[in-house]
Amino acid sequence: MATTEYAAAERPTIRALVRPEVVMHGLREKPGGWLEWLTTTDHKKIGIMYFFVTFVFFIVGGVEALIIRTQLAQPDGTVVTPEIYNGLVSMHGTTMIFLFIVPVMAAFGNYFVPLMIGARDMAFPRLNALSLWLLVFGGVAFYASVFFTPPGAGWTSYAPLSDDAYLPSGGIDAWIFLIHLTGLSSLVGAVNFVVTIQNMRAPGMSWGRVPLFVWSILTYAYLLIAALPAVAAAVTMLLTDRHFGTDFFDPTGGGDPLLWQHLFWFFGHPEVYIMALPAFGIISEVLPVFSRKPIFGYKAIAASTISIAFLSMLVWAHHMFTTPSPTVVLVFFMLSSFLIAVPTGIKIFNWLATLWKGSIVFKTPLFFAVGFLATFVIGGITGVILAVFPVDWQLQDTYFVVAHLHYVLFGGSVFGIFSGLYYWFPKMSGRLMSEALGKASFWLMFVGFNLTFLIQHSAGLSGMPRRIYDYPADAGWTVFNEVSTFGSYMLGIGVMVTVVNVLISIKKGKVAGNDPWKANTLEWFTQSPPPENNFDVIPRVRSLEPMKDIRREVQQASEPVGTVAQPVASGT
């Protein structure tokens, strides 16, 4: 290759490792405009469309949540009817889980996994496009139900309420199609991630040098493959129960509603970690960069990710402590749920140790990562409280559980997602987001979130069940709900500030350059936004932090080379 000669001629020995990038992309002719977006198989374009679609659903789900909170702000609320309320509850939960948090992790994975492992695309680019469009169709099929009757049995669609005898309209069917389509989308995507990560890592990137975010996406993918078939089977059985006369979940025909709960939660609990683990991965990338320290206990964090995934397959019945089940079963699921607290605790302590004695740079991604740590701890602790099954008998299906799950999914996953968004936005757009708006958004979201959900623990402890469309004034829950609703508006405003920030910065943000944060991983090696083929030369990876090595090499070379510098991919 001509480039090798050029580099060798210019500098001998170590200097030969550093040379300007030769641009080889932009050679293929592409259709212009929207057609390019429709037909693309580029993992980065697909990733951006994933982000767009999932954030649209995030905002829709958020508006549903605000209507719910408005209805509950006062006793005997009259904003919506009970039927619409149940629809809102079902759609909010389903949207946030199946159309936002799970696929937005695929958005991050799609865009950044190939870049972080030094690959030029996903292993199966067309399959990748298929998983995006299946997601879109799933969302459209589901939201089409607002034009007839939305589903009304919650995101869990417990049988027999979800059976045709009680909810005969098509809402539940739309929900079933959503589970099937988004499930297929996730399965196809998961296989793609596994193959990509197993086979397409840069030379030198052994398993001990794989970035923790990539570890988390690999685990996410394996968990999806293990868990999704159970729910796919369950919703198919529900579909045949509803339309083809089977009685899998109907006791009058010899079926059992408990079967639904087992099948659903066998998927449903791993699903929680499917939503949480990639956020853990994002935090594990952001904290070392902004504390200017290597991640503390890399192997322990990677190992805890895997053990959490394994244990998450064994804890499903802690959602069913109040069902008529033998005590020995309850004890087993209590102990297994306790066990999962150990690797989770390890992660939290390792993150704290990463900040300890660092040199912490207060940029917006760090704010959200710290917000994640501060709130996720509460979700973890209430998780242990709920795992004590006699205590769960009091707390199950109350606002305590609502608060707990939002501390895990919002305080955990969503703060992680926002941290990742602020961290990687410069890479995706080439421009920095506004720090002032970012920090304003963080404080509004952080304070709003805690106002909304901290007090819901108390509402639950005082006996307020979840999923009720109103409550009497003499129940004593009015103050809790007023505070919670106020907080939810603040949270909503905070989210909108970030949306505005994205819209402004995408056009007018400061130009970021390749590596604005002095980060550790390979995605910062290429241009922002990266060219279609990502890397012209794939660098050889020598440590967990290849960018640190590259920056050091650039510094060591006597003549300062421009920002685009690259070691020779030895062995190529």
């Binding site: 004695k357 912490i360 509460i378 402890l461």
Partner: protein, 305 residues
């Protein structure tokens, strides 16, 4: 002061960076100390005035009280962990903020004894919690015998050659609870008496509930009388309570069961055993009267035909 001197003082203040920084960090220290003090005082006040806000409902039945105690133990174990994590977090953010000329970040990648330490520590705490749970479990799960002032139940042994009643079934009043969209129906033992929404029970008597559903999944829950028990069609679930004080205890269905879920309320009224017997007798009489009236109607209709 002339404008010139004013400018100079302002300038010296502005450029005395060290003093400024120490004053700022002092202020931050005071602010965080105040915050910590506020949080601690909130916790100190908690057990008194705001106990109900931080702990589950209790006070109606011993199982609810035991759950409350168990919850408090788990909570008290977790509060130091919470404070430790948040404390270290806040301390790190304040102490290790990047400053110009500040100390270099320490490039450590791990510490095996430390990591092993917190792994074992977390495991030990969870073992303790498991043991505590096993200690409290029997008191929460197993119905005790009724008190001496309770309702006299038919399990008393009349003669010495009669076999003693099987273990576990001694001296408890068994009431059937049936969930239906959107009401609760209660059947009282031995008499055919039943009621809706409001259950009447005798005080100082262990009441065992046999919980069923005739349509979708519901969940029986009166917070002050202990935990939930799901009512699932095709299954019979069980829970119990034993009330010592007369009074009414309120609750509602805790599992989404359809549009009327929020209105599926329930209450338990505890009365003296004598009043309970009168209530059941009254219900039986009503039942008989209703049956009689029905029979009379039927004969009247048949005669008129």
């Amino acid at each position: 002061m002339t404008p010139a001197t004013k400018w100079i003082t302002a300038a010296t203040e502005r450029y005395d960076a060290a003093a400024l920084r120490s004053r700022l960090s002092n202020r931050r220290l005071i602010a965080s100390a105040a915050l910590a003090a506020a949080m601690l005082s909130l916790l100190a006040l908690a057990p008194g005035a705001m106990a109900d806000v931080f702990t589950p409902e209790s006070g109606g039945s011993p199982n609810a009280d035991d759950i409350d105690t168990l919850y408090k133990i788990v909570l008290y174990v977790s509060i130091p962990i919470f404070l430790l994590v948040e404390g270290v977090l806040i301390w790190s953010l304040v102490k290790f903020r990047a400053r110009r000329g500040g100390p270099q970040p320490v490039q450590i990648r791990g510490n095996s004894p430390l990591e092993l330490g917190w792994t074992v520590g977390a495991a030990v705490i969870l073992v303790v919690l498991a043991v505590v749970t096993f200690i409290y479990l029997p008191g929460i799960k197993n119905p005790p015998a009724s008190g001496p002032d309770g309702l006299a139940l038919g399990t008393q042994v009349a003669s010495i050659d009669q076999p003693s009643p099987p273990k576990g079934s001694s001296k408890a009043l068994e009431i059937g609870v049936n969930g239906q969209q959107y009401l609760w129906r209660y059947t009282y033992p031995g008499s055919g008496a039943y009621s809706y929404y409001k259950m009447v029970v005798p005080t100082n008597t262990t009441v065992v509930l046999k919980i069923t559903s005739s349509d979708v999944a519901h969940s029986w829950w009166i917070p002050k009388l202990g935990g939930k028990a799901d009512a699932l069609p095709g299954h019979t679930n069980q829970t119990w309570f034993k009330i010592s004080k007369e009074g009414t205890y309120k609750g509602q269905c805790a599992e989404l069961c359809g549009e009327g879920h929020a209105d599926m309320r329930a209450s338990v009224q505890a009365v003296s055993p004598a009043k309970y017997q009168a209530f059941v007798a009254n219900k039986q009489q009503e039942l008989k009267a209703a049956q009689k009236a029905l029979a009379a109607q039927r004969t009247a209709r048949e005669e008129s035909q």
